[in-house]
Amino acid sequence: MTFTLDFLSLLGRGLISACRTLGDVAIFAATAVSHTVRPPFQLRQFWRHFVEIAYFSLPVVALTALFTGMVLALQSFTGFSRFNAESAIASVVVLSVTRELGPVLAGLMVAGRIGAAMAAEIGTMRVTDQIDALTTLSTDPMKYLVAPRLVAATLAMPLLVVVANILGVLGGFLVATLKLGFVAQTYLDNTWDVLETMDVVSGLVKAAVFGFVIALMGSWCGYRSKGGAQGVGQATTQAVVAASILILALDYVITEAFFSR
């Protein structure tokens, strides 16, 4: 009996804590979004973060996409050749990359790079009184720190995913033509024939949502960090873990919304 009560108590506390956290994040997000549409707009801050995300994340996203496309073509070939279905490789590569791998892998890479950086920067500002200083300098920290990051990440991620899609398909094309003996024109024809607008659009929608989630979790975890260097470290870890899990969960939700019949 005591064990059951203890278990239920533990479960209840966990549930209440989860609801409180969810509520905190929702209020934080709503406040930040409201600042994105109310002047004054922090264009300088927006541009700084946009360049950081869109431009400086390019190498890591590009390399990830390129090698993923290459591996995908290679693995598909070894699997499909058992069923004499090698001709489907171009379709598998382009659909996998545009619908799933492009946005998800780019999202995970950016979560590791940008989400962690945002949490660390805002967390450090929190524990060194810089956020309080902003308030005393007549500047709303949500408007100055969070809103520009949300907008920048939401707009930058689709651009990164366009690059990831192109390079992912290119990776598959290179392996297929240079290593597996496919005819280049045939491979490209197969790629174009199977690709539909919705495949690309769904990937870009995912990218925008993932960008928003990465910036939101990075900002939120940093904003509520406390306790010095250890607190900032924890905030950074939490930001990356939370963003990564949310990316994978939301990937399913968006896929369901776009493609379930």
Binding site: T128, D132, A133, T135, T139
Partner: protein
Amino acid sequence: MSDAATPKIRIRGLRKSFGAKSVLDGVDLDVRARHSMVLLGGSGSGKSVTIKCILGLIPPDEGLIEIDGTDVSKLSRSDRTALQDRTGMLFQNGALFDSLPVWENVCFKLLAQKRITRAQARDRAAEVLAQVGLAASVGDLSPSELSGGMQKRVALARAVAAQPDIIFFDEPTTGLDPIMGAVIDGLIVDSVERLGATAVSITHDMASARRIGDDAAMIHKGRIVWTGAAADLGDTGNAMVDQFARGEREGPIQMELRK
């Protein structure tokens, strides 16, 4: 504006707890307009929390805070912003923004309020940096490139650049050598006099307290236990204040040390 009879800042019954720990337990304090008040007290006595409550950075649990006779808890968002426009704050560790050069740090408030253009801000920053004894070339450096004393001076420049009429200083000389501490104190006195501002400073440094303060108050266990002239520190007749001012181990203030 406050007249002579109305304190610039009036605090009554201010209470604040963090969880079960009571930090402020009914603080009553008056700060006279155009005077410099020094708030003394041991670590954890509630000095910084008092200042943060006045600035609106921490909401108090209970009590009244009036500035120029207006209850700040009843201010609208825009009035609160207008009040912040009139205040300046020097944080203990400077709290300079690492991502911005010094000149942008100094003129941050003026730029945020769009009172000046970025081109004008550079000139204004050079002017204010000169007032705190720094060359204009310092404006192009990053805060991380500055020594501790220079960071304090830049933080002071930022606090006074928008010409506030209330300025808060949180341990302005902590971590500085005695000479640099005296330099910072001198700059604080100059800045406050030049602006005709009301100042509230937190310090543990008695020499600094006497240099920058007209009035002084001592806070102990979340309550004001003494107020008087800063010049009297060390010989106030109050056993707690005198023990604190002389840095004596024995006296009414007992450190809670585990044996």
